[in-house]
């Protein structure tokens, strides 16, 4: 079987202690929360930390607080199962409950945390392989090598953002609280990501993502659709998060965020803007979907083909908007419903 490399595991009891440990051990250390992604990656030598700073024992990181109407606060250490099953999340932010509930499998959602999913490593089928496989094909720049195997002429890494929850949080306008050695800061989830497969998080090494702060829910309707081969296990190869603020049938605010089609979640801002002030009619939705697919730039480094993922971006955006507008999934079915 594949074995873990040797490492030291530290178990801080507070965020402050965790940050200090991280600073003390420098680049040899990594944070670990649920460990559902990190440990398998260590077995494949994608990560080779000498020290792991475990966040599991820090009580202050766990739990959902507050009211949806004034803004929920979700501890980053809350498991995906607890997020997916939380009554207020399900009732008011169904897209978030859906996204959390679609991550991997039930046992992994019982271990994995929402903070871990937001920060989850980018993926690429040239990179998520054993050390021996990567040696055989020639190491890539994300680990042990110096070129990108999916785009060999490229100076950067094109590994794919594979978080389900971040596109939803972004579409909802959520913020993230980061606590580091220099104090704490609250930033929009949207600004947490960088467009690079290696350096994909705008978070300092010593910073702990402690909380997700959600805005008050007010006439907000949201949806998340995930493309993957199977109903379980699989990371997204396309995620579409849509949040519409509706006012008397007209769209007041619209955010469409695409996951798993670039190294970071991408907002289809131009498409969202087309909706503002308008009624979401089938014709407008078709136009918006067309525009929304433009920022979708999948490459050949995940399951399913990239032209298909690009094509499905349009289908999924249309479908998500149609659901929020109370329309059947496909224009073909409109007559039946009518």
């Amino acid at each position: 079987m594949m074995r873990l490399p040797p490492f030291a595991y530290l178990a801080p009891r507070s965020v402050g202690e965790a940050v200090r440990m991280m600073v003390d051990h420098g680049p040899e250390a990594m944070f670990v929360a649920g460990g559902t992604d990190l440990y398998p990656n260590m077995k494949r030598r994608q990560f080779e930390p000498k020290v792991l700073v475990g966040l599991r024992g820090i009580q202050e990181l766990v739990g959902v607080r507050g009211e949806a109407t004034t803004g929920l606060v979700i501890g980053a250490g809350t498991t995906l199962t607890d997020v997916a099953e939380h009554a207020a999340v399900r009732g008011h932010l169904p897209a978030l409950a859906t996204a959390a509930g679609l991550v991997s499998t039930p046992p992994l959602r019982n271990m994995g945390t929402i903070g871990g999913n937001v920060c989850v490593d980018t993926r690429c089928n040239y990179y998520n392989q054993s050390y021996q496989w990567r040696r055989a094909i020639g190491f890539c720049m994300k680990k042990d090598g110096d070129i990108c195997l999916v785009a060999p002429g490229s100076p950067r890494c094109w590994a794919v953002s594979s978080t389900d929850t971040a596109p939803v949080l972004w579409s909802l306008g959520a913020r993230a609280r980061l606590v580091g050695v220099g104090g704490e800061r609250v930033v929009p989830v949207a600004s947490l990501f960088k467009d690079d497969g290696i350096d994909y998080l705008a978070k300092a090494r010593d910073e702990v993502l402690t909380e997700i702060l959600l805005p008050p829910v007010d006439g907000l309707r949201c949806a998340y659709l995930k493309l993957r081969r199977r109903g379980s296990f699989d990371f997204p190869v396309l995620g579409v998060a849509v949040a519409l603020g509706l006012d008397g049938g007209r769209v007041k605010t619209a955010k469409i965020v695409l996951g798993a089609v670039a190294s970071r979640p991408r907002e289809a801002a131009e498409a969202g803007a087309l909706l503002v002030g308008e009624r979401p009619t089938p014709a407008l939705i078709a136009e918006v979907a067309e525009v929304a697919a433009r920022p979708s730039k999948p490459l050949d480094n995940t399951d399913l083909t990239h032209p298909y993922r690009k094509k499905m971006t349009k289908v999924f955006v249309a479908r998500a908007l149609r659901r929020l507008a109370g329309l059947p999934d496909s224009p073909r079915d409109e007559e039946e419903v009518a």
Binding site: N128, G231, S232, D303
Partner: protein
Amino acid sequence: MSTEEFSVIGKPLARVDAWEKVVGAARYADDFFLPRMAYAKIRRSDHPHALIKRIDTTRANALPGVYVVVTGRDFPAVRFGILPVSQDEEALCTDKVRMVGDPIAAVAAVDEETAERAADLIDVEYEVLPPIMSVEEALAQDKVRIHEYGDGPNIHKAVAFEFGDVEEGFRQAALVREDVFFYQGNTHLPMEQHAAVAQWSPDGKLTLWSSTQTPHYVHRALAKTLQMPPAWIRVIAAPVGGGFGGKTDPFSHEIVVARLAQLTGRPVKIGLTREEVFYCHRGRHPVSMWVKTGVTKNGEILAMHFRSYVDGGAYGSYGVASLLYTGALQTVTYRVPRYKFEGMRAFTNKPPCGPKRGHGTPQPRYALECHLDKIAEQLGLDPAEMRRRIVVDEYTKTANHLTITTCGLRECIDRVVEASGWREKHGKLPYGKGVGFACSSYLTGAGLPIYWNDMPHSGAIVKVDRGGGVAVLCGATEIGQGSDSVLTYVVAEQLGIDPKDIRMATADSDLTPVDLGSYSSRVTLMAGHAAARAAERMRILIHEAVAKKLEVVPGELVSRGGRVFVKDDPERGVSFAEAAVLAETMHGTLACAGSYTPPKRAGKFKGSGVGPSPCYSYTACVAEVSVDPDTGEVTVDRVWIAHDVGRALNPLLVEGQVEGSVYMGLGEALMEEQVFREGLHKIPSMLEYKSPTTLETPEIYTILVETVDPEGPFGAKEAGQGPLLPVPPAVANAVYDAVGARIDEVPISPEKVARAVELKKQGKPARVGPERLPVFTFPEPVKVASAFGEAADPSVKRKTQV
């Protein structure tokens, strides 16, 4: 079901190994821990095709905790392979590697981590050769050769047969149709990764525990590659955590741990990683196929011509048999009076393909059943009704000289048509919903052994203890299919005792008589017969002793309910334990052997050895699907499947086999594919090699049809492989019914369906599939008179004689 006459047979009993498997007490090969045990790791090739220029083990040897490092030079220079005609594998490659993952060197160390680190410290210098990754590339490359043997450069084998004049059949036909199909390769994906433990005793004898389906063949391979007397080698198959054909070859790692154990004087264990299991492979061959059939206006087949282009991978494995199987069973399902088959298997620089559940027959079955669906549509016939009309006749021979005994296919068709509401659904469901139909047949055990010999294929010993306990010793291998249970039921029925009073000792070359292994759906029939015969002999000894005691003749006695008693006076009798004492007193130690050799019914032509079987199972299947035309996603909602199992020795186990086959067939139909990029397996992990989960598994309605075949023990035929066969074409035909698009290749991925739907929208032919075939000239066919319609040999047992 007619089970009244039996106490055990036909009852839905729990498996005999249920408890130990449910509570985790079963000891699989990787669960073995022996004192002072070392751990092995194999260094594998980084290149798909290369010469090995130098192997330097200095750095690995210097690592603390390393006991020994070996290369191919540390083994006798002998090659091995499962078929005598394809001895092309080395324990460790000496001069050349033929795929990424080929074994080059091995380490034994104090623990697995150290062994892995040491394996990575072995320095290998290669001279890289051009990789050959497809049949087309194999044919285009005549200078670079993967092997030095075969029927041409990179052609492992090319065959051609013609049974009757097919051209004449085509001339008489009302419709002649040709189609081209491709069936992608896929792998077994057993839950258990291969593992083996070797122990070398101080007197120079070897014991190997392994997760293998064929301990007898491993035994032979070890003797050959280690140049040891077979008498000094003991091979024990541990309970196998899923085989499906993936553990049917002898493997490099089994030979390697044996040698490492010898060199270190320690027990040595190896447990493969999932990635290494993908390199062992021996799974489904990718096959391109062309089929041409001439039919009457009623759909009666007049002639069929079938061509297979088989991508074999880096080694021979079972490939010659696999290739022949792509042409062997087309004639066993429907009446085909004239038949021509041409096939070729190419070597490529990929993990070797071999036998996966259905061995070489799911690919042609896909082609044939999709092809027949198109023919039925062209003729304006209902595809189920058309097939029902052309089912083979019982107790006849096929064009290619295979003997049909019982055939329950018509009943299977009627039952699934009825249960699924086929007539109300086919062609009548709303857009996006559809039903598809397919049939199949499969062998119940290969009629010929892997290596030429006239000995039995299966043997069993039944031993009775003075306390009434019964031990059954048999070489059969429990791979999760329930062979231990089936053999227990057979013996329990014969001796009239509770299955719980029987202990199985199986798959141990020192203690158990040879059984050829758990492959070709042979165990229930062959080992079942051997155990039944051994038990019958034991019953005769027991009845003789009891008859003397009770002062009756043995013919008046029956054994049932743990007693031996007078049939017409059940009060007069003794318990089985008392009977055992009487019998041992009379006869001495109570041990009886039984064995089974299949009937010799192969045709008299070269290549006739693949296809014959004592009897064939039959299956009919209806799949109901929903297709999302925008995304191309196919959801299988329901599957109805009727299987002619001869007799279900335990209906619960048979249903389990049928459901497992459906599930595996759906994986092949919809998503599984063994694909390569830059010479490497693209996705060698359980996460990225997509196989269905419970969420993708539909409601499965299993119907068992019992024909009680005179060839099978208690009438049983196979159930482990046949039910997979009709599933992929039934799904393809259902997709056509749903959205009018033909997907002439598996997997039927959402992208292909979406593309076909798009083509239809554009008014183009709504088909996605191969556009051309490899260019290859087949040899002149061996012409053999068609045996179609001839009566089965007089040696064939008939039902009326039972």
